[in-house]
């Protein structure tokens, strides 16, 4: 059969007609949009400022709802970015630091002496060598200066568990250790997974409990990736990279690593493969790629992991290099390919910072090998390095302070940790300046994206994982339009790892005035929880925006949530942590106040 005939036959054999349902939906939407654009043109020619231009009915099948779009003259552009320069700020308000400056200013995090973790209270022994990096707080931005806010998705929780460790040990954490988004993402807001395809999006708003006055509202955005059951996830090829330098002997960090890895092993499936590399002064393959069904061999290797006493050099560069080499050899595009780094992040030979490690090791690695940076240890611990390594290597970051946290990471949420569902995810909110006067993104300070197209590396969301972001917004007085803004979540396809410019599947959602309730108390428990969690983080962070707030203001909010969700262990624990923070702060104040 010649080529043409064959192609014709293929065409005949596989032609598919679309249903009349689809015809109707598309043509109806096209008519609505055409009318809207006609009206917009007419108005644009008539007057420079437009109130309401047209009404269009758009059937959004992905959302399963018919929405009425009241389009204003404001057209949500797709290519704006979170701008910093034209922001007008009030006296004493934080001014955003451009991303480049933040990144090149990282030395401040690793200077020695008072800079490092020196902010813990004096009533107990402070940890001598903790490395954090401050990203300040986002400013409040006037929509007339910039109405588009873009940030990279982040589902990490490391900061929250580090702060938990501090509080449980009786210290207030250094402000720099607090990343509000990692507090928010620790909690379960009851998002249901999407039924098909892309993520489910949840939007809720209400007056802000903690805002300066009644004109301030909170907008909560939740994104939930689709769930995959442990049986249905892909097989995994894992390279476990364990720090065995002397510092890992402190407080039996290595013992916690061994326990955690045994938990991980018990949650893996027989077909998964594991290799183990240890690094300290150099790096060494402790276990060649071994299927999990040969459990004894793997357990033997795990149990053999011990700190190299007396060796105080840690060559993370060598370790990462060898781990990625091995991961490359094991690479199978049908499987999960991941390097799991278990370390305290204190590297002192070879490349020791996230930028240099990225330049020397990570940037040339094969796409599709992901990193999990799992932090262990307190006393000397480099949060900055571990978190940034994960951010730069399409990775996730967690900090294990207790065996329960190890279980949460390696057992309860293993699939989400292993299998990426959405890659390079960016969230973009375009506020309608006619309705919103100003907005402030709470948290995600080191995830702001710049560049022409809101460019820069997005974040990864694992299967079943969710991300929550809060904006504090101020409505314009007397605004009568209904459309508050639009939300775009863009991602690169995790299967093909290929980004197609301007064509990545995008999930959109509208944000309406009716998504905002009229009282904080009537908002959902999840909303109130998020508001309380963010405020707790902001107080710990000594944020400009929470200067007048006290821990005791947050307590009743969380107590109310707990009444409605009595079985939520995370909320129970949160309540006790806020109470602890409150107590430590009071004791500190009492001890510094002059005795009468």
């Amino acid at each position: 059969m010649n080529e043409d005939k064959l192609l014709k036959a293929v065409k005949g054999a596989t032609s598919v007609e679309v249903s009349s349902r689809t015809d109707d939906a598309v043509l109806k939407a096209a008519r609505g949009k055409a009318a809207e654009m006609r009206a917009a043109r007419a108005v644009r020619h008539r007057r420079p400022i437009i109130k309401i231009a047209a009404v269009a009915a758009i059937l959004l099948l992905t959302c399963g709802a018919t929405l009425i779009v009241a389009a204003t003259g404001w057209v949500p552009p797709l290519t704006h970015f979170f701008g910093f320069s034209p922001v007008s700020v009030g006296p004493g308000e934080p001014v955003a630091v451009p991303l480049e400056k933040r990144q090149h200013g990282w030395e401040s995090a690793t200077t020695s002496g008072g800079e490092i973790g020196g902010d813990v209270p004096a009533n107990d022994e402070p940890y001598p060598m903790m490395f954090f990096r401050s990203y300040n707080e986002n400013p409040s931005i006037d929509t007339e200066d910039q109405h588009v806010s873009t940030f990279a998705a982040d589902v990490d929780t490391g900061s929250y568990t580090i702060i938990r460790k501090y509080l449980n040990d009786g210290h207030l954490p250094p402000e720099k250790a607090v990343r509000t988004e990692e507090f928010l993402n620790y909690f379960d807001y009851g998002y249901k997974p999407p039924e098909r395809g892309g993520p489910a999006i949840y939007i809720e708003g209400a007056p802000s409990k903690f805002g300066p006055n009644e004109n301030y509202y909170l907008l909560k955005i939740g994104v939930k990736a689709k769930e995959i059951s442990p049986e249905k996830r892909k097989d995994a090829n894992l390279v476990i990279l364990v720090d065995v330098s002397a510092s890992m002997g402190k407080g039996d960090r290595i013992g916690m690593v061994r326990k955690s890895l045994r938990m991980l092993l018990d949650s893996l499936r027989p077909e998964d493969k594991v290799a183990i590399i240890a690094f300290g002064e150099g790096s060494d393959t402790v276990l060649k790629p071994t299927p999990v069904k040969e459990k004894d061999a793997i357990i033997h290797a795990v149990e053999s992991l011990a700190p190299q006493n007396g060796v105080d050099t840690t060559n993370l560069e060598a370790g990462l290099g060898l781990a990625y080499q091995l991961a490359d050899k094991m690479f199978d595009e049908e499987k999960i390919n991941r390097v799991i780094l278990c370390a305290d992040g204190v590297a002192n030979t070879g490349a020791t910072g996230p930028m240099s490690l990225h330049a020397k090791v990570l940037q040339d690695t094969r796409k599709g090998i992901y990193l999990s940076a799992i932090g262990f240890g307190i006393g000397n611990y480099n949060d900055y390095l571990m978190e940034q390594l994960a951010d730069n290597a399409d990775g996730n970051y967690a900090y294990i302070d207790t065996i329960e946290e190890a279980k949460r990471i390696f057992v309860d949420n293993l699939v989400g940790m292993l299998q990426v569902d959405m890659r390079d995810v960016r969230s973009q909110v375009d506020f309608n300046p006619a309705v919103v006067k100003s907005y402030r993104l709470i948290g995600y300070e080191n995830r702001a994206l710049g560049g022409e197209n809101g460019g820069g590396d997005g974040g990864e969301i694992g299967a079943g994982q969710s991300m929550t972001a809060l904006y504090e917004i101020r409505f314009r007085k007397g605004a009568d339009a209904d459309l508050v803004g639009t939300l775009s979540i863009t991602e690169t396809n995790a299967e093909t790892s290929r980004e197609i410019e301007g064509m990545t599947p995008t999930i959109d959602s509208f944000i309406w005035r009716k998504d905002f309730g009229d009282s904080f108390e009537k908002a959902s428990p999840g909303f109130r929880l998020a508001a309380g969690v963010a405020e707790f983080a902001e107080i710990l962070k000594k944020s400009y925006w929470a200067q007048k707030s006290k821990f005791s203001d947050v307590l009743p909010v969380i107590k109310d949530v707990l009444k409605e969700r009595p079985d939520d262990a995370a909320v129970t624990e949160l309540l006790s942590l806020i109470a602890k923070a409150n107590k430590i702060q009071q004791e500190k104040q009492n001890s510094t106040e002059p005795q009468e």
Binding site: M1, E3, L6, L7, K8, A9, V10, K11, G12, A13, T14, S15, V16, E17, V18, S19, R21, T22, D23, A25, V26, L27, A29, A30, R31, K33, A34, A35, M37, R38, A39, R41, I58, L59, L60, L61, T62, V75, P77, L78, R196, G197, G198, N493, E495, T496, R498, I500, M503, T504, P505, T506, D508
Partner: protein, 175 residues
């Protein structure tokens, strides 16, 4: 009428222009996605989803762009996103082919359609995809390479292998 003209007219508020674009590409997209995923229902859903997204963002449509490649790439992205890709079943061949032949040929064509569906199903996804784009969209190897962001040589060899395999498969059946 050129795609670019129709896009401009739609942006000026002409719904008919969009209907023409839709008619031009809906079957091509659906068939491409079907060969890709093996599901008629998903093909239908994806065509709808892609067009609704295009309409939603009509403001940012540019007449200069390659509209066909844009539609196909978006369809592809969504199809890959489904992650439950299955190949066309042999029993799942269409009731009526698009350019249906005369009544005398129908019986024979149904049979060969079934065989072809089998043969296609046996091909790796990448090869199936190239054949589908050639057959349904009438794209050249160079256009396909450009759209998929792959070297022309790669697409050429995928296409060659695919044709070889289809021929072998059908040839064996005929003997």
């Amino acid at each position: 009428m050129e795609d670019s003209v129709l896009i401009s007219r739609f942006k000026a508020g002409d719904a008919e222009a969009f209907a023409m674009l839709y008619d031009r590409y809906k079957a091509v997209m659906a068939s491409y996605v079907y060969v890709f995923t093996g599901s008629r229902e998903e093909a239908d859903n994806i065509v709808q989803e892609v067009f609704l997204a295009v309409i939603r963002r009509a403001d940012s449509l540019t007449p200069e762009g390659n509209f066909r490649a844009y539609l196909l790439t978006r369809s592809r992205g969504l199809a890959l996103n489904l992650r439950r890709v299955k190949v066309p079943e042999s029993g799942d061949c269409p009731e009526v082919a698009a350019d249906a032949p005369g009544p005398a040929e129908i019986a024979e064509s149904m049979e060969s359609a079934e065989r072809l569906a089998d043969a296609l199903a046996a091909l790796p996804r990448e090869q199936r995809e190239v054949v589908a784009l050639r057959a349904h969209a009438g794209m050249t190897v160079t256009e396909i390479a450009e759209m998929l962001g792959e070297p022309v040589g790669t697409i050429k060899s995928r296409y060659r292998y695919a044709l070889e395999k289809l021929r072998t498969f059908l040839g064996e059946e005929e003997q």
